[in-house]
Symmetry: C2
Subunit: 237 residues, 2 copies
């Protein structure tokens, strides 16, 4: 394809991303897309046979670009926790720049089920490779890497939806910190805390031992040492 | 409303859930819904003014029923970890019985943005109450409860999508175990593992101290004690 052809194609894809996001697949027409892209209607068919095929390419293309950005932004991280944090940060930034991402990807479920699954499966594949390596290296506790990948993807998806898409929160860093707290503890290689409520309170011995491994943050220390109060409980509301 | 009226209304809602899930909101017609429900076309208008209003009610109703089921199934749990596990299990079961749940809820983004946010916000509200209480009681580490709620909802959503909706996996318990491993460690009140790769390897002192707090599972122990190999690393793939 000529450079000019590539530019036209890119214009159509960008316009399609916006039109599908705004109108939804069913109500979007090829004429809407060419109008938005500033391209003659007939030119569309030089590049795409129909509406469905450009839709599928928009989804595949968004996924490829996002995965590439995350790979780039995390390439200098030397530990898995930093990879997760940088990956989340890059994802949030991408959502900010592509506010139609969610709407487009979620429509794929109706337009082309394969394309929809492929979007997530390709992400999961990269995660599984990275997480398995981190498990091999003893950096992350051994777990089912694909199940873990979907857990981490779900965290990113829901936080991006709530705090980037719904309302751009100046306190996004605070949200990221919470997610990373959950993830860092969650992937930790220490033995699992045993089941049951009481056992989640660390013993005095464990609290004593902790400083030898880690200088606990002020907050963490405070929580850990605070005597647990046990008022009456009722069912989850 | 008479009992008969209530039955008719319920029939319409059930039919609508199925029609919206199969055809999508745009392509679904009121005639599709009354045909599916075995109700005369004109009867529809006794209960709902238009297509959008029955759609919104389907989403609200699914959310209400799911939250109620989860509240019931977790009411006897006496610790937060069990609440999370039972909640996930109940959610998976609901997805199995309502395979159109995802498609219907995700369309809400296009049909009625308020209804879409309300669906998740109401879930989050219950979570925030329960998690805040667990934090008060020293059972769960202090974190931003709303951010944590969305993390947990994201985990459930993505696991349900991948392992119930896409393929009903006989190994769902294994997936649930992985999620619960992540969540149990993630909510743990012990001091945070410090940042950086090396620090994720527990010191000998910590490993020694561990049995005094918890009998580590065979797997966890093996991972923790295994000498970490450190082959060359490349970027996250």
């Amino acid at each position: 394809m000529t450079p000019r052809g590539q530019r036209t194609r890119a214009k159509l894809l960008k316009a399609a991303e916006s039109v599908f996001g705004e109108k939804g697949y069913e109500r979007a027409s090829i004429a809407d897309i060419t109008r938005k892209g500033g391209v003659a209607l007939g030119t569309f068919y030089v590049y795409f046979p129909d509406k469905q095929s450009i839709f599928v390419e928009v989804v595949d293309d968004l996924g490829t670009r996002l995965r590439r950005l995350i790979a780039d932004s995390t390439s200098k991280c030397d530990n898995r926790i930093d990879v997760e944090r940088e990956g989340l940060r890059t994802f949030f930034q991408f959502v900010r720049q592509h506010p139609n991402l969610y709407r487009v990807v979620r429509q794929a479920e109706f337009v082309d089920a394969d394309c929809y699954r492929r979007y997530y499966d390709r992400f999961a594949k990269g995660y599984v490779t990275g997480l398995s390596r981190a498990m091999e290296e003893g950096e992350v506790r051994r777990m089912d890497p694909e199940a873990l990948a979907y857990c981490l993807m779900g965290i990113g998806d829901f936080l991006g939806m709530r705090w980037v898409l719904w309302e751009e929160d100046p306190g996004l860093d605070r949200v990221l910190d919470t997610a990373m707290g959950l993830i860092r503890h969650g992937l930790d290689t220490r033995p699992a805390p045993p089941p049951g409520r009481n056992t989640l309170k660390p013993s005095k011995a464990a609290v004593k031992a902790a400083p030898s491994r880690a200088a606990p943050s002020k907050t963490a220390k405070k929580n850990t040492l605070r005597p647990a109060r046990r008022p009456g409980r009722s069912a989850r509301s």
